[in-house]
């Protein structure tokens, strides 16, 4: 019996998959058969519906006391020339400038700045709510929350309560990296441990907050580490039910402490999405974060277990400082088209996956929106085209 048919049989019998099953899935050579299984599970949950939102990314400071090897964004000290911390007015302006077409969600992720007062973070949230009272604030990763608790000498619950009082609605999933202690020690020694990270989420969930969680894959970890990571998420979810989405994030090597490592390839991305969907029987959504995998692979991922492609984003700097060549934002129409081209039904959602707007399914290749500027499609940073002659010169 092949690995996949064995696993299919277990799923049909309602048997839960274990660690060995997960590792076997990662080793499955037939990528399409693996994808097909993940796709069936995805369609059983969501049919063709594929979620996206109108969101905005803000990174208010890149000053960071942690020195994660995979990071090309932060690890700066406040006096360094590239260090930058936004004033509250600067940060708020990002929203007030967009009020003609406002985001429904603001996603704030920062470096671990040792010198800002806690009130800065509270006031940031209050200011956003003043500008747009119904905006959803998904701010500060569990790693930041844990750091705040240490720095400002409060309990995690206290930190969360004060932030919630200031307007915090949910937590983003960043900072999970890889939970395995040995790997985590090598790549990310001086920030929240796996248990600390998961504890923050546990407490948030117990307060009735929803959160997301992530996994940074494709660096020095093994398949076993990935499975261990996914199963730890599953275990906490059994306990709390508070995770909305699991987001596998591909490691990008440029300009960071692991720049000699190759980035994971697209096949590895798809495999990881698929295995995540198959193993995580209790997390409703698997997200293909298009900034991480690129819009093209994210589009394919919509058949490899993913039902969410993140949002318009507008301005992302963390992946971009690690060499991501994708654009910093995608237009709304563009996201709809990406989803329709994958043969799916685009659903604009709010942060809690309530439907804002549902679009029709287009037949393959007939997206409702025709994006005129194809530069926006493949979205790489603008490079003067050298290619020529239509398709001619690339003929094999």
């Amino acid at each position: 019996m092949s690995v996949l048919s064995n696993i299919r049989a277990k799923l049909q019998n309602g048997e839960r998959l274990g660690f060995d099953d997960g590792v076997a899935l990662f080793h499955e050579p037939d990528l399409l058969a693996l994808g097909q299984l993940a796709n069936e599970l995805r369609e059983a949950r969501h049919g063709d519906r594929t979620f996206f939102n109108k969101n905005m990314r803000v990174e208010v400071t890149n000053v960071c006391v942690a020195s994660c090897l995979f990071c090309s964004f932060a690890k700066l000290e406040a006096h360094m020339p590239d260090a930058h911390t936004m004033s509250l007015e600067e940060a708020w302006k990002e929203l007030s400038d967009r009020m003609d077409d406002p985001p429904s969600e603001i996603h704030v992720v920062n470096g671990l700045h040792p010198g800002l007062p806690f009130e800065y973070y509270e006031e940031l949230l209050r200011g956003y709510k003043r500008i747009k009272p119904d905006v959803h604030l998904k701010c500060y990763t569990a790693v930041e929350i844990h750091f705040f608790a240490q720095l400002y000498k409060m309990s995690v619950r206290e930190v969360l309560e004060r932030l919630r009082a200031a307007g915090l609605d949910s937590l983003p999933g960043g900072g999970a990296e890889i939970f395995d202690p040995e790997v985590r020690k090598k790549i990310s020694d001086d920030k929240a441990t796996a248990d600390e990270y998961l504890d923050v989420h546990r407490i948030a969930h117990s307060m009735g907050m929803k959160t997301n969680t992530t996994m940074l894959f494709g660096h020095i970890e093994t398949y076993e580490h990935r499975v261990d990571h996914i199963l730890r998420v599953r275990t906490l979810q059994d306990e709390t039910g508070g995770f909305q989405a699991f987001i596998p994030l591909a490691f990008h090597p440029d300009g960071n402490g692991m720049k000699n490592l190759p980035a994971p390839t697209a096949v590895d991305d798809l495999r990881t999405f698929a295995v995540s969907r198959i193993l995580l029987d209790n997390v409703p959504h698997i997200k293909a974060f298009w900034v991480s995998s690129g819009p093209d692979v994210a589009q394919i991922a919509l058949r490899f277990g993913c039902d969410d492609i993140d949002g318009t984003i507008v301005h992302e700097t963390i992946y971009h400082s690690a060499g991501s060549g994708v654009p910093q934002g995608l237009t709304y129409e563009h996201l709809v088209r990406l989803i329709q081209e994958a043969g799916r039904v685009p659903v604009e959602r709010d942060t809690f996956y309530n439907v804002v707007k549902e679009f029709p399914k287009a037949s393959v290749g007939e997206a409702a929106f025709k994006v005129r500027d194809r530069k926006a499609k493949k979205h790489l940073a603008v490079v003067e085209p050298v290619r020529s002659l239509g398709g001619k010169e690339i003929a094999g």
Partner: protein, 640 residues
């Protein structure tokens, strides 16, 4: 267009003598727009909706798959037909080679079936259809071909005129009758419209009745024009050719389709009729059955390909294509080539609407690369272990054939690199510039060092599309013609498709069928690559169907349709290395080429670049071994 013209029935007839009784009476009918063409063109017109009804060679009908026969009319034979003969100097069982006009598909399939049935194994080679007009000329044209263990299938006038010149002859329709006890149907009126009007059927029937009465006159006229015997021709039209499509003929046609399907020569085909004949209620094959047949490598019709593209899921197409890939390339190796893409000039007279590269003659940004610049580029390729130059350019009216010949000789003398150069459009351009045939251009370039012809500029090989995206581009028939000529002189080429402009899904499948048809004739295509139209600033058409899913589906379908093309390439250069890598699991066994920095193709403003190590990593992670190749897809390195 006048109202009257719109009401005309567009009829495409085969222009040969034996078809004349079916259409002669239509010539003077103002309600009919009659086109008289060779069989291949008749097939094209029906396929591309330029004809409402066409006298289709039955192999062409099977290729399309979605045609309906008009009742009770055909070109058929019960017993000897006289005009399709296998002739030789030795008894059949001694034959080793048979030359025949490989573009005459129905006869080719019939010859293959009959020889296989008689356990005679031969090699089939191409015989140019003769342009000889008198029996003497025909004899001179055919006689040198038929030598020793090499026979030939001769068709039409030559068969009628010179059959007695050879000691051994086999009438293929007679052989069919002996084998099956059934008539053989060569061609019949076909339409793609299942509701073809009863009045139009009646008009064709009336034309047949009138035409049959004209047979003696037609025989005399043709005999006079071609110095043939009127008596032989009259007997041919009265006795050899049968114009009925009765029960026996339908059984014969069904038997032919079944045998050809079993032999892998034609798609599975059912004989279906237009009204007023009642068809059995059509039960479409379940999609799973069709996918199973596709994965098993069976030949698919255009209609079946279209259905797969519309209905099969991404995984179904991918898994079926991967099955075919596995069977064709069981070693699990994906190849790539180290070469360089050089555009020798950007001056071009074509002004394709999708091209942002060309400059008109006299434009200040126009260039022709100097020997010095070229030499530097070539040396870099040699130094980097490259094996080939892909040389293409605009249609520059200031470069004569001798410029290319000198260039090629110099390149071959100075650098040991394969020369993969000049797409069909450029060959046609040079032939027009020099006022010589494309065959002569190719022969001279071949002599000067040309190794193979790139398949660029194919775009979509359907003229409706070509006219819309590039008015002055060569016709699809001209593009295929250059490839036919090149293949016949032993040059190999690739085949390509650029989709996503203004074509329909059906037209993409027709494109694949045309490549498959020509490949049946020549076997000269090494590989197929496709990509979507890459939008850039400055281009003047709207992008159409694009997206990664469509690319993967389209590439997988190409693997399923092109059962006679060895290699399918994943076009990472246009799709990006990520999608390119995933595409390896959708039927591809080649990853294209490692390109050099300044020739890196930018995909819609994107510049992708990967080196050999990057290619090998991606190939390995997709689950394959990698090997470098040359233009003929020979492995140059052991698979790793």
């Amino acid at each position: 267009m006048s109202a009257e013209k719109q009401d005309q029935l567009r009829v495409a007839g085969v222009r040969y003598l034996n078809a004349r009784p079916l259409w002669e009476d239509l010539k003077s009918d103002p309600r009919i727009a009659l086109s008289l063409e060779i069989p291949r063109e008749v097939q094209r017109m029906l396929a591309e909706d330029e004809a409402d009804v066409a006298l289709m060679p039955v192999a062409g009908a099977a290729t399309l798959g979605d045609v309906f026969f008009v009742p009770n009319m055909a070109i058929a034979a019960r017993g000897p037909v006289q005009s399709v003969l296998l002739v030789s100097e030795v008894p059949l069982e001694k034959l080793e080679e048979v030359a025949l006009d490989l573009s005459s598909r129905t006869s080719v399939v019939l010859a293959k079936l009959i020889l296989a049935h008689r356990n005679i194994r031969v090699r089939f080679t191409d015989l140019d259809p003769t342009t000889a007009r008198t029996p003497q000329e025909m004899r001179e044209a055919v006689a040198p071909v038929v030598r020793g263990t090499r026979g030939a299938v001769i068709i039409g006038d030559p068969a009628l005129a010179i059959a007695d010149a050879f000691p051994y002859r086999l009438d293929l329709a007679e052989a069919w009758q002996e084998w099956k006890g059934l008539p053989f149907v060569f061609a019949a009126w076909c339409t793609r419209n299942p509701n073809f009007a009863a009045s139009d059927v009646a008009r064709l029937q009336a034309a047949k009745t009138a035409g049959l009465a004209l047979r003696d006159a037609l025989a005399e006229e043709h005999a006079a024009a071609h110095s043939l015997s009127p008596a032989i021709l009259a007997r041919y039209l009265h006795e050899s050719i049968r114009y009925e499509l009765g029960d026996a003929e339908i059984q014969g046609l069904t038997a032919f389709f079944d045998e050809a399907y079993r032999a892998g020569l034609l798609p599975k085909t059912e004989v279906r009729f237009t009204a007023p004949l009642a068809n059995r209620p059509l039960t479409p094959v379940p999609l799973e059955t069709l996918l199973g047949r596709a994965a098993a490598g069976e030949r698919l019709s255009v209609a079946e390909g279209e259905r797969l593209l519309a209905e099969a899921s991404l995984f179904e197409l991918g898994l079926a294509a991967d099955e075919v890939r596995k069977r064709k390339h069981p070693h699990g190796v994906v190849t790539y080539i180290v070469d360089r893409n050089v555009n020798y000039t950007n001056v071009c007279t074509t002004s394709c609407r999708f091209c942002a590269f060309y400059r008109p003659v006299g434009h200040p940004e126009g260039y022709v690369l100097s020997r010095e610049v070229l030499g530097q580029k070539l040396q870099e390729v040699v130094d980097a272990g490259g094996v080939q130059i892909l040389l293409q350019g605009g249609l520059n009216p200031e470069l004569p054939l001798t410029w290319y010949e000198d260039l090629f000789r110099w390149m071959k003398a100075e650098y040991k690199l394969g020369l993969h150069a000049l797409s069909p459009e450029e060959i046609i351009h040079i032939s027009e510039l020099e006022n010589i045939s494309t065959a002569e251009v190719l022969e001279r370039l071949h002599a000067a060092g040309l190794d193979s012809v790139p398949g660029g500029g194919a775009e979509i090989l359907v003229d409706r599309v070509r006219r819309r995206i590039a008015k002055t581009k060569c016709s699809s028939e001209a593009w295929l013609g250059v490839m036919r000529t090149a293949h016949r002189m032993g040059l190999r080429s690739s085949a390509t498709m650029m989709y996503g402009t203004t074509e329909t899904a059906r037209e993409r499948v027709l494109h694949l069928a045309k490549i498959r048809d020509l490949q049946d004739e020549t076997g000269g295509f090494t590989a197929f690559f496709c990509w979507d139209f890459q939008y850039e600033n400055g281009v003047r058409i709207e992008p159409g169907d694009t997206g990664t899913h469509l690319y993967l589906r389209q590439q997988a379908l190409a693997r399923l349709m092109l059962d006679n093309v060895d290699h399918i390439g994943a076009s990472w250069v246009t799709q990006g290395p990520d999608v390119g890598q995933v595409a390896l699991r959708f039927g591809a066994d080649d990853f294209g080429s490692v390109m050099f920095e300044e020739n890196v193709v930018s995909s819609a403003g994107t510049t992708f670049g990967i080196n050999a190590a990057g290619m090998e990593t991606r190939i390995r992670e997709a689950g394959f071994k990698s090997a470098r190749r040359n233009v003929r897809y020979d492995w140059l390195t052991p698979p790793l």
